[in-house]
């Protein structure tokens, strides 16, 4: 396998953009990445698009060439990857695989979702299709309700408290407030976070990520060619994708995600690092409880200690392990297919010292964790400064 580097990144702001369609968002992110990497469209040898539900949200299928040709990328393989909320991370994993294997040199990965053109109940319905529609979803579940049931069980087994969940939301809002591209740039108090509108007990509106429009893009190249394009290449030190049951009720223990543990173990092994060496992370906080469980499954803390660890401020920008300095899915926004790619862009911004007001001092080794559904797909990527 060849060492692979990220040579360019590009993102749209995340938010609700009534005048923008899926393609215009994807093209904006892609063009920014091309510009950032000093790469021409005709130099792209393969194109991956991470997208969850373009056909349902936007009524358009065959999305990869639909986007790539609009970017001026002609004739090369254009492939859409769907893995629910991990579509972006999975697209990145597949793009990385091609470069690592020596199949192609310059590969573009774009993630995009256009969600706000539909009313919330319809969005919930479309998102629910990432669950098991013959079982859990037939009973009236939503993704919020699945994570609410996970939270209930985590509280029951480990004594995790509502305050612990709320602290994750407060921290991510504080970070997102400093991110000019975030959907919701609004700090909140612990009291507010405790008393939001109920969604699915014990989760309220502040425990849930946002319904957003947006896109993100990265361009990959073999490390040996990276300096042809950029003075600030970011190396992909380790990456892995893993899978598990789609239905939550098939898991033996819903307070842990085996796909996260598997993907993390392999990524750490490939990178030759331990969880304790990781300096900062972008974590898939689709719901506050998901961030708490992720920091446990990724090996940053022992099982059951994610809640207190978060509540005590260890994951704040000034803490020992800053998590989601971008604001996370909670505050930055969660355009589903874009999320996994945006996490990598946000790691890269910190590593290049381009994160502005939210810049953290230790930023040479970062981890991104992108989760699909209630844990059926997970992609873990470890990036390092070259």
């Amino acid at each position: 396998m060849r060492p692979v580097a990220i040579i360019g990144i590009g993102k749209t702001p995340f938010g609700a953009f009534p005048g923008r369609d899926l393609r215009s968002l994807a093209v904006e992110a892609g063009e920014k990445a091309l510009h950032n990497a000093n790469v021409r469209p005709d130099q792209i040898e393969s194109f991956y698009l991470g997208n969850f539900a373009g056909p349902s949200f936007a009524g358009q299928n065959h999305l990869a060439p639909y986007v790539s040709t609009a970017l001026g990328i002609q004739g090369v393989p254009s492939t859409r990857i769907e893995a629910a909320c991990a579509s972006g991370g999975s697209a990145f994993f597949h793009g990385w695989s091609e470069v690592a294997a020596g199949i192609n040199d310059i590969v573009m990965v774009v993630g995009v979702e256009k969600m706000t053109s539909q009313p919330t109940a319809r969005v919930s319905q479309i998102l629910a299709e990432a669950g098991d529609c013959s079982g859990e979803m037939k009973a009236g579940s939503t993704f919020a309700s699945l994570f609410a049931m996970i939270a209930r069980r985590h509280m029951y087994e480990y004594g995790t408290k509502k305050e612990h969940l709320a602290a994750v939301a407060v921290k991510n809002h504080a970070n997102g407030a400093l991110n000019p591209d975030a959907h919701m740039r609004k700090p909140i108090t612990l009291e507010q976070a405790m008393k939001g509108k109920p969604i699915a007990d014990p989760l309220n509106i502040y425990d849930c990520s946002l319904i957003s429009d947006g896109a993100a893009a990265v361009i990959l190249a073999p490390l040996e060619r990276a300096y042809e394009f950029t003075q600030k290449p970011i190396r992909v030190l380790g990456i892995s994708q893993a899978s598990d049951y789609v239905a939550l009720d098939q898991k033996a223990d819903i307070t842990t995600f085996p796909a996260v543990r598997r993907a993390a173990d392999k990524a750490y092994q490939m990178a030759g690092v331990t969880p304790q060496a990781i300096e900062f992370a972008e974590i898939h906080d689709c719901f506050t409880i998901a961030e708490i469980i992720a920091i446990e499954d990724l090996g940053f803390v022992k099982k059951g200690e994610g809640g207190p660890f978060s509540f005590e401020g260890n994951t704040a920008r000034t803490g020992k392990l800053p998590v989601n300095t971008s604001g996370g899915l909670k505050s930055k926004g969660h355009p589903v297919g874009a999320t996994g790619v945006a996490q990598l862009c946000d790691l890269a911004l910190q590593m290049r010292c381009e994160a502005g007001e939210r810049q953290i001092p230790r930023h040479s080794l970062g981890l991104a964790q992108n989760l699909g559904g209630s844990g059926a797909t997970c992609v873990v990527s470890i990036l390092g400064v070259v």
Partner: protein
């Protein structure tokens, strides 16, 4: 009670306030994952009184193909 009626214990539960399109008219309602006495788990709707983790439940009448469980007497 017939021996074919499924029974079990509440493994986890939630009350849903923000429902998907198809269920919006029924909110708020409770769903739960039940550990069945015979083994395995199933995600169901709860009929009648609210239940909590550890409660014993039995299957009530299915409505439109969806399993409804209720607190055991």
């Amino acid at each position: 009670m017939s021996s074919s009626v499924r029974a079990g214990t509440v493994y986890t539960e939630t009350v849903i306030y923000s429902a998907p399109e198809a269920f919006a008219a029924e909110a708020p309602y409770q769903t739960a994952i039940i550990s069945l006495d015979g083994g395995g788990r199933v995600t169901v709707r709860i009929a009648g009184d609210r239940v909590a983790i550890g409660d014993k439940v039995v299957e009530a009448e299915p409505r439109e193909g969806v399993a409804f469980f209720e607190k055991a007497a």
